[in-house]
Symmetry: C2
Subunit: 328 residues, 2 copies
DNA sequence: TCTATCTATGAAAACGGTTTCATGATTTCG
DNA sequence: CGAAATCATGAAACCGTTTTCATAGATAGA
């Protein structure tokens, strides 16, 4: 591999001048510039990025944390983030925490060892106090997830509102017996806020939330199937169910079909996210503006890296949209 | 940030000895080792990865190319690759080519500039001759995609066989009027081989493939919907359709339902991949062992980086499985 | 015309590690 | 007991850039 030294020699100039050409510094005559360009071309030279990183103390790489990339919500997020980063000359390192606290902490070392310039968390597994110390080593941002203690830029949706909209919709459809079904991540405000929004809608309508219709630990299609069976076994059943994701909703519906239940007449189901599958099967759902979120977060991150902005709380709140289909 | 020099000073030793401790070299007394450990602890020291990369000439990072991460086939692939890489201490850089030749070439520079130790291609947009020169800069591997000219390790499935199995299944169900529907990437053998397999099954059964039932450019759910409408408009219609992905199949089915067609009686549909959505909607499909492929590819890649194996053709062929559901 | 500023270039330092080489102490072995 | 091998450590070179500093010529302003 040719080095900058080789180029300098061939061009009959110093390393410094070659470097100036590469980095588009002023004060290089056109003639020398041409000499350097030709030499680079001839040697098929490209600057070594490790050396560059070391000297410039920056990596042009950003880490994005997701629980699992196979979750369509997160893969959509990563898609837009990756494309936007690429447009601005940044690489994206994918960190899958697999819902594991340890894995999350492991990956945080990336920032400390200067393998990335900054990181974007789309979910949090640990208490914020475990994450905060890493803020010394580079910018950290939240996207989707949010946290009261975190003094960092945050692009998010008001999940209270999202759940409220969904639950209200069910109430407007005439339901009063509405179950609630979600994942439960204690370090995450997303889950608790949704429950708050759900209760708010119920209470406004004079309905008392029932403990036995509070179903947790549901993330996947399979979890949805299990949830359906739990509901089917109840003596006193709900007529509608609010879910925390389209996958779970799809699982419930699928299993309901297996048991010859009619959706929405025997059970109305509302999903969350508006993933492609929701349109496919006709699921009413609450759309999250994923593209918008992902792009804004990445934009903010790159800006704060490039302008070395001090980290501070800055909230960007986006809006939900109810998408009515035939499951409600 | 503390450097190795700071640690050395605090421990009263040389940089060399500190480096030895970090890298678990032999020939360091337990006492000095302890001194170094304490100093590192006290200074909250971690080695700077850029410096390390520069000196060791390796990055412990691998690039994975996919067309789009939102395609569930590829997100599953990336999930297992990412997890396996992480287990072995490697990072994964995600490169989305967006089906663009330019974008693919852009990303290839990553290898040349030594930002990654190697790269795994799950699809190819350019002619192999455009990619080959980059083999000088580090190991390249194929996973899923394959190419006759590429003298590189390849983990793949025999797509002729996959399409053959699917088409045979349709024939065994009594169909003789079978349409073919897929994407069309000319640089990829996946597409052409599938068509070969399809024709092989037809010809064995004495059926002549029909040009007007050869439908291309189908990748997404929306494409599937379009394809259905194309079929519906035909005067002389097929009774079954072979598709190149579960998404496309799902789109066809969805649109068929909209038009009150009965699947499989009016139109039998077979998908490809066996993604979660296939189980959800009851789609017959051809399962690809994605986890297995991804893991084997990543394993091969890391081994060849660590043992500096010379790049050569080495084919690992895995098998398909037909999953029968109610769409056929 | 003289000085201040701007332009153009290169030598050397710096980034923060790892590896090579040299050296002395200690152990092993014939 | 002497030579060879092994153990333990540090100085210095090295990885390949960018940045700082120094220098000199050209230009502008007074």
């Amino acid at each position: 591999m040719a080095t900058i030294q080789d180029v300098a020699k061939l061009a009959g100039l110093s390393r410094t001048t070659v470097s100036r050409v590469i980095n588009r510094h002023p004060y290089v005559t056109d003639e020398k510039k041409r000499l350097v360009m030709n030499a680079m071309e001839e040697l098929n030279y490209v600057p070594n990025s490790s050396a560059r990183r070391l000297r410039k103390q920056q990596t042009e790489t950003i880490a994005v944390y997701v629980p699992r990339i196979t979750n369509p919500f997160f893969s959509q997020m990563v898609e837009v983030m990756g494309n936007y980063a690429s447009d601005r000359g940044y690489q994206l390192i994918l960190c899958q925490t697999s819902y594991s606290r340890n894995q999350e902490i492991n990956y945080l070392e990336l920032l400390k060892t200067k393998q990335v310039d900054g990181l974007i968390l789309t979910s949090i597994e640990n208490e914020w106090s475990s994450i905060e110390p890493y803020m010394n080593y580079g910018p950290i941002m939240l996207c989707n997830e949010y946290n009261d203690q975190a003094q960092v830029p945050t692009v998010y949706l008001d999940q209270i509102e999202g759940a409220y909209i969904g639950t209200r919709h069910l109430i407007e459809q005439g339901h009063t017996r509405i179950a609630y079904c979600s994942g439960d991540n204690h370090a995450s405000r997303v889950a608790s806020d949704r429950y708050t929004g759900y209760k708010k809608a119920l209470e406004e309508a004079g309905i008392v939330p029932r403990e036995d219709w509070f179903l947790t630990n549901a993330y996947s299609i399979d979890d949805g199937k299990r949830v359906f069976n739990d509901i089917a076994k109840m003596n006193d059943r709900p007529t509608a169910v609010f879910t925390g994701s389209d996958e779970v909703a799809a699982g419930i519906w699928k299993e309901a079909l297996n048991h010859k239940w009619d959706v929405p007449n025997h059970l109305a189901i509302i999903g969350f996210d508006d993933q492609p599958v929701a349109d496919l099967i006709g699921l009413t759902t609450i759309r999250q503006p994923i593209e918008n979120m992902g792009q804004q977060a990445m934009e903010l991150m790159i800006d704060s890296i490039q302008h070395k902005l001090p980290s501070k709380k800055k909230e960007i709140k986006l809006d939900f949209e109810l998408v009515k289909r035939r499951s409600t």
